[in-house]
């Protein structure tokens, strides 16, 4: 069994039990142990980076320090957390001067960043630690006939030089994982472009416009659902759909599921255990198609 310190971040534990439940259950079934550490904080995502980049690096580094102390690599569910922590980890490992600077700040909190651990998104853990072959063997309820539009979101892929998640122009990891579950991957226009999630709260209008484009394109491509990796993308596309309905008077009725939810379902976990009712757009269409 492989163990990771789980970094939950802020949004998932507070707002998206569906994400957390599905991820915890699916990963446990695949032999990945998640350890909850005390004293973690916000990862310092783009809104905090916008306020103070240096503080943000230090906050991210602080959280990595906790994993270093526990001698565990970090696993994230949220793509935003993955980006903040992973960028800090890579930058500080590569730049001695920056590392020294951040360590001077961390010393105020009694920490020192060593650079001894990895930060991984759970998609990487499933791909690398479990492997597509073993995953396939564990699929008991293949999602046959389900047409899934993979939506990476921005911060899994970019900035690619620091994240090294996958080829930023032609990624494959998500699509392969969807197909391993027996589902069909659907291509659509501007798949790798932003959902506008981070503009919510500053300019809802623009954010909605961007989310709407995803709904238009995935619908046009004939997808049964959109699969996401990030709680912000989920909000933008799930709750966002309600707002699109109000603003544009357009109904897409496009279910949005986290990949972890599709994974849990394919591994045979009872849908009742997954808090699927928390979705704004009902997922019954999807469930009907696979059960």
């Amino acid at each position: 069994m492989t163990s990771y310190a789980i970094f939950l971040g802020c949004t998932i534990p507070a707002r998206q039990p569906n994400y957390e439940l599905s991820a915890r259950k699916a990963l446990a079934k695949l032999g990945i142990e998640l350890i909850d550490l005390a004293n973690m904080t916000c990862c310092a995502p783009p809104p905090i980076q916008s306020i103070n980049l240096e503080a943000s690096l230090a906050i991210a580094a602080y959280n990595i320090c906790l994993a270093e102390e526990a001698d565990l690599n970090l696993i994230t569910l949220c793509t935003g957390c993955f980006e903040s922590l992973s960028i800090a980890n890579t930058m500080l490992k590569a730049d001695k001067q920056l590392k020294a600077k951040i360590n001077r700040i961390l010393s105020q909190a009694g920490k020192e960043f060593l650079g001894s651990k990895e930060v991984k998104h759970y998609l990487q853990v499933v791909t690398d630690d479990v492997g597509l072959e073993r995953l396939k063997q564990n699929v008991s309820k293949p999602l046959t006939n389900l047409k899934v539009a993979a939506f990476y979101g921005c911060h899994a892929l970019r900035p690619s030089e620091l994240l090294k998640f996958d080829d930023p122009e032609r990624p494959q990891i998500f699509e392969s994982l969807i197909e391993t579950l027996g589902a069909k991957n659907v291509e659509y226009r501007n798949k790798l472009k932003c959902c506008g999630g981070l503009l919510r709260g500053y300019s809802d209008d623009l954010a909605l416009n961007m989310a709407r484009e995803k709904l238009v394109n995935t619908t046009k491509a004939g997808a049964d659902c959109i699969a996401t990796l990030c709680p912000f993308c989920f909000v933008a596309l799930d709750i966002g759909q309600m707002q699109v309905k109000l603003k544009f008077n357009e109904i897409y009725d496009m279910p949005v599921l986290h990949y972890s939810e599709l994974l849990a379902l394919a591994l045979g976990i009872d849908p009742e255990e997954l808090a699927l009712k928390t979705h704004k757009i009902k997922v019954d269409k999807v469930l009907n198609k696979i059960i």
Binding site: D167, E169, R189
Partner: protein, 806 residues
């Protein structure tokens, strides 16, 4: 050895100098210096009567060392030395100094101080002269033959020039046919005529007019008697020294006998194997036995052995009327001895598929300029029609994208310099043949800097070609229609455009030809940061390399258009001819010499030598010692400065000579200021001192200049010695780091100075007493300012404390 007899010749510059310097005092002083047997004064010594005085003294065996104090030393020195040499005295026994620019002019406001300094300068010159030793002339044989690597227009033109001048030339081309990129380009700007024409051999001049340029196939190129053309061949190894290189070449089998083939085309007609034709950007297929374009050299088919079925098929053998096809041909190894090598390997298009957002690898209607050139070419795969490769229908809407992988710090940071013109040429050619075609060029900056080039841009606008200032972020393909969409911002309009296109043409970066790195390793040549061959000096010696006898031309050093390539080819030919013409290299043994007793096993100097002149050899006691090639050594002394065991010396700048000079310069002060030794390299450092004097800039006379070949010769202990013999401060004056005449000397010196500063600190001496300065000839003011600055600094520091006690 004969007794040393020094003659001192003092030029007063037509009494100009005697207004400042007290010549009587100087004469009186010099008279008492031991070894001086003759003192002469005249208004000048580098020509006329003055020079005759020197000649007579040498001829009369009155003197055997010559010290001349002359103005314009760099100019006068040459004449004096050459004349002395003719009288039979070794030229290295002459020492010339400049009392005008190094003493009288810059110190004219303090004439008494200037006179005292002049004494020190004369003493230093005399002391050095007494220790000078004769240096011999060496001769090395040079074979009067050359190897030209690369059969594009650069290589062919160089070969023509060299054969015209009577040298044997071997032209090696790795492809089965000559022509290189030029043959594929079809037409060249700025004349829009055929790319593949050259200035023909001189033999042709007799029959045709001297202004003619000719297609290669009717130029007589292949029939030049002293030209040996080897196609389908590559360089395997190169050994030896300048003037005598041993080259091993592998010639791949052609499977067609060049002497028998009559170009009847029966073989290609019957050949059943078809493969995409790389030469034509895969826009058509060719057979396994093929020829690129008509009239190419050699005019003989070749078999592509990666696809031919050989004896399992052999249909071509059956039909060949002259039995020219020989399926059992094998690779052949050819050994050549040549005096000189010219690299003309050219460039190629960068692989655009690396820029994934442009989908060169998966959208067939995204092509590059070279593919478009093939389409435009009437001999090409489409017969001059511009098509969409996906369905071969005529392309009506074309978008061109500039700077693909060029000016791009992710891939190639440099501007490839010719792509704007290539695209303008293509757009104009298409527009004139098919005026209805809609053409848009997306650019970052249009660069048309050559002669007649701006006219191309002008003409393109007149023709109605559209220009969008903006680099597209990506190329999309409409899944339904299959049409391409170029997503770009017109930055001038601040407007987003989705340009619809049948065909998108990329202008890829031009990068070094395949195999450049391997060839550089074989030849021992350096590549620059963009992976092109590095020239010796991009300003003045653009076709030479650091290795004597090896030259570069054409696109091997950077992407070039045809006019520049021609210039380069002619230049390389002249340089090579100059080297080969006399049949020998005559070179002074102004080189480094190793004391094998001290030298041992450390391997530092071979790595440091900028010229690869040092090799390690085993001695009988089974330890390694450095061996210096007199042919390759340039006499800079970087190895001297590097050797931790003081085992290397320069014949023309021995430690005892330098020490004697130093002592002499510090032996007389004559000013109230602290003595400063300025150690100047013989290139930019010393000439900056000249220019300070020529411009009559003033700096204090306590600053004394000692010339060394290159600051790279400096050893840390020498700097310490300067303090020991009386210097209160030391300036090291060299070339700019990237402009050192011996490549690395100035950088090495800088490190030595840092090290010496640390040591000074250890000894309780203020490290600020030592400083390195870098300047060029025209920065005389910089030298004067530095001299002033260091003097003031030393005055503030007060006398060197440790010196007092010792």
């Amino acid at each position: 050895m004969d007794e040393v007899k020094v003659g001192v010749f003092l030029s007063d510059c037509g009494n100009q100098l005697s207004k400042i310097l007290d010549f009587n005092a100087l004469t009186a002083y010099v008279k008492n210096v031991s070894g001086v047997v003759l003192i002469e004064r005249n208004s000048e010594f580098w020509r006329g009567d003055g020079l005759q005085t020197i000649v007579d003294a040498v001829k009369g065996r009155k003197i055997n060392r010559v010290v001349v104090a002359e103005s314009l030393p760099k100019l006068s020195e040459v004449n004096i030395v050459q004349t002395v040499e003719k009288t039979g005295l070794n030229p290295y026994l002459v020492e010339v100094i400049d009392l005008k620019d190094h003493c009288a002019w810059p110190h004219r406001e303090t004439p008494q101080e200037a006179t005292e300094k002049a004494k020190a300068m004369l003493l230093a010159a005399i002391e050095r002269a007494k220790l000078l030793e004769p240096i011999e002339k060496l001769e090395f044989p040079v074979l009067k033959s050359a190897l030209v690597i690369g059969g594009g227009i650069a290589g062919m033109q160089t070969a023509v020039d060299l054969t015209d001048l009577g040298f044997e030339v071997n032209l090696v081309e790795k492809a089965p046919f000559l022509g290189g990129l030029a043959a594929r380009a079809g037409r060249f700007f700025p004349t829009d005529d055929c790319a593949i024409c050259i200035q023909p051999p001189a033999s042709d001049v007799k029959t045709i007019t001297h202004t003619s340029r000719k297609c290669v196939y009717r130029s007589g190129f292949s029939e030049i008697p002293n030209l040996n053309i080897l196609t389908n061949s590559k360089i395997v190894s190169v050994e030896g020294v300048p003037g005598n290189y041993k080259v091993t070449i592998e010639k791949k089998p052609r499977y067609v006998n060049e002497l028998k083939c009559v170009r009847c085309d029966l073989c290609t007609t019957i050949c059943p194997v078809e493969v995409p034709d790389e030469y034509n950007a895969k826009l058509k297929n060719r057979k396994a036995i093929y020829m690129n374009i008509p009239n190419v050299h050699p005019p003989v088919y070749v078999i592509d052995d990666s696809v031919c079925k050989f004896n399992d098929c052999a249909k071509c053998v059956d039909v060949c009327p002259t039995d020219a096809i020989e399926l059992n041909q094998k690779s052949e190894q050819i050994n050549l001895n040549v005096g000189s090598i010219i690299v003309a390997t050219g460039f190629q298009e960068y692989d655009s598929s690396i820029i994934k957002e442009y989908h060169y690898d998966d959208y067939p209607n995204v092509i590059t300029n070279l593919a478009l050139a093939r389409m435009i070419d009437g001999f090409g795969p489409t017969g001059g029609v511009i098509i969409r490769p996906s369905d071969r229908k005529t392309a009506k809407k074309i978008v061109m994208i500039q700077c693909v992988g060029s000016r791009d710090r992710r891939y190639n940071p440099y501007c490839s310099s010719i792509c704007c013109m290539i695209s303008l040429k293509h757009a104009s050619l298409i527009k004139s043949a098919y005026p209805d075609t809609d053409i848009t060029i997306c650019y970052i900056d249009i660069r048309t800097t050559g002669r007649e080039h701006e006219h191309y841009y002008e003409r393109a606008r007149e023709m109605g070609i559209k220009f969008v200032k903006g680099r597209p972020t990506e190329i999309l393909r409409d899944p339904e229609t299959g049409r391409l969409i170029v997503d770009v911002e017109d930055a001038l309009l601040k407007k987003f455009l989705e340009l619809d296109a049948d065909l998108v043409v990329l202008a890829p970066a031009m990068v070094p030809a395949e195999g450049t790195k391997e060839l550089a390793e074989i030849l021992g040549l350096e590549l620059d940061e963009d992976r092109f061959f590095k020239e010796y000096n991009s300003k003045l010696r653009p076709t030479e390399t650091k290795l004597r006898g090896i030259y570069l031309c054409g696109g091997a050093t950077f992407p070039k258009d045809a006019p520049t390539t021609s210039l380069h080819a002619h230049s390389a030919a002249v340089k090579a001819a100059k080297f080969l013409s006399t049949g020998k290299i005559v070179k002074d043994q102004r080189t480094a010499i190793v004391n094998e007793e001290y030298c041992g096993d450390c391997e530092f100097c071979p790595v440091t030598c900028p010229y690869g002149a040092i090799s390690l050899v085993s001695t009988t006691e089974e330890h390694l010692v450095a061996r210096i090639s007199d042919l390759l050594c340039e006499g800079c002394g970087v190895c001297v400065g590097t050797c931790p065991l003081n085992a290397i010396e320069l014949r023309h700048s021995r430690p005892n000579q330098m020490l004697a000079q130093m002592k002499a310069l510090m032996s007389i002060n004559g000013t109230s200021k602290p003595l400063v030794l300025a150690i100047c390299c013989s290139e930019c450092g010393h000439t900056a001192v000249d220019s300070a004097g020529m411009a009559r800039m003033q700096y204090p006379a306590n600053v004394r200049v000692m010339k060394v070949p290159c600051t790279g010769i400096l050893q840390v202990h020498q700097v310490l010695e300067a303090f020991k013999v009386g210097a209160q401060g030391v300036m090291v004056v060299g070339c700019k780091s990237d402009g050192c005449h011996y490549e690395v000397g100035s950088q090495k010196a800088e490190k030595k100075v840092e090290l010496a500063k640390m040591l000074l600190k250890e000894y309780g001496i203020e490290p600020e007493r030592l400083e390195m300065f870098k300047m060029v000839f025209i920065e005389g003011n910089k030298f004067a300012e530095a001299a002033q600055m260091i003097t003031e600094r030393l005055e503030k520091l007060g006398p060197l404390q440790l010196m007092r006690g010792s």
